[in-house]
Symmetry: C2
Subunit: 213 residues, 2 copies
Amino acid sequence: MATGNANSTVRTSYRHGDLRRALIEAGVDLAREGGPAAVVLREATRRAGVTPNAAYRHFADRQALLDAVCSSCQALVAYSIEADQAQVTTTDPVEAARLRFRAVGTGYLRFALEQPGQFQTAFSASSDMESATSSARAGASGLTPFQLLSQALDDLVTVRLLPPERRPAAEFLAWSSVHGLAELFIDGPLRALPDAVKQTLIVRVIDMVEKGL
Amino acid sequence: MATGNANSTVRTSYRHGDLRRALIEAGVDLAREGGPAAVVLREATRRAGVTPNAAYRHFADRQALLDAVCSSCQALVAYSIEADQAQVTTTDPVEAARLRFRAVGTGYLRFALEQPGQFQTAFSASSDMESATSSARAGASGLTPFQLLSQALDDLVTVRLLPPERRPAAEFLAWSSVHGLAELFIDGPLRALPDAVKQTLIVRVIDMVEKGL
DNA sequence: GCTGATATGTAGACGATGTCCACATGTGAG
DNA sequence: CTCACATGTGGACATCGTCTACATATCAGC
């Protein structure tokens, strides 16, 4: 095997340098190609040009690696949301808050459709409320997808588009709808729908949330 | 090994009798105990008191077995919905339609909370629109969970609680919300919530759907 | 009732995976 | 310079899905 390395840099030293990061990156690639089930420890080490056991110096077991990959994938979701939010240019603060709220949904669902494997991986590992706010899962703004949604809802209250008494737990209602649609799209019965119809459904679901919240 | 059998009936003949059914039932048990990943072909054959390869006389591969188990689990979801719907006793047809619609959501989510493993398995295998209406996934009424939802929405239109122009694709909006909440409950950030809070969220999500549809 | 084709189950093997234990070798602190 | 520790290697094991033979039970047709 020696320095046999499939990837970018050929390892010159005995030490890898940053194996932990390399394994996570390989895992993210695997997730893109085949979802969480494809995040295989041995294959990740293979791509990092390293023996399977080397992974155990950085991760307790495969699940720990998958957790780290999951966090990285959630950060990608955050970036996708931020990208959609950045396109809001209205100067009207009320309309801006409304559109930035909707952008959470569209960014989330756009990512789910563009990178289904990574999307599934992002929410495959069982995460609790604590890890939903971990900084490892944040985007450029330092906020996780969940926190981006919370903030958008707070802003909705600020501009009086959402009555304060309906604010509590609103993130779970909104998240449920959007996340459920993503699941139906990815491996649910809506998988085969033409893209235009999917886009229509996205708009309608977000309409429903906005109206029903 | 001979007639070594862990389950109910000891196999007396060389032939098993109904191995296909036995494997599916073992698979459903495994799903209850550990979700789709726990539906392991070899373990299912072990529980059926049979050699691993015997399964290949009835299923093309593990995925085929998992698909069958998935169908059985979806039937369980249908039964759960029907159970909740059966509790609606109002004589007022309008209120009855409304409550039967809500019962789709409560029955669905009650099953998700009571049998998370089977619930996840029910929607793990990638199903398309065709399999969502397969009779193997139906409950006592002969309807799949998806069809029960569609019927409830049709009834909502009949009693004029839902304008006909908003009927198209409404099942996907409602399903998204309820299914998404189930996912957040089972291995999302809402996993650790006390049961009472979960019940409140269920009511609120269904409220949102009813209001926003 | 016999016989042979077919359905069903068995036996053994292979490659892949996660993971364990023992060992080797860089690297940095003293 | 040396030695402890961090990091990677090598080999092994159990389990899993699946393949290729092989064996036996059951039923159709004579």
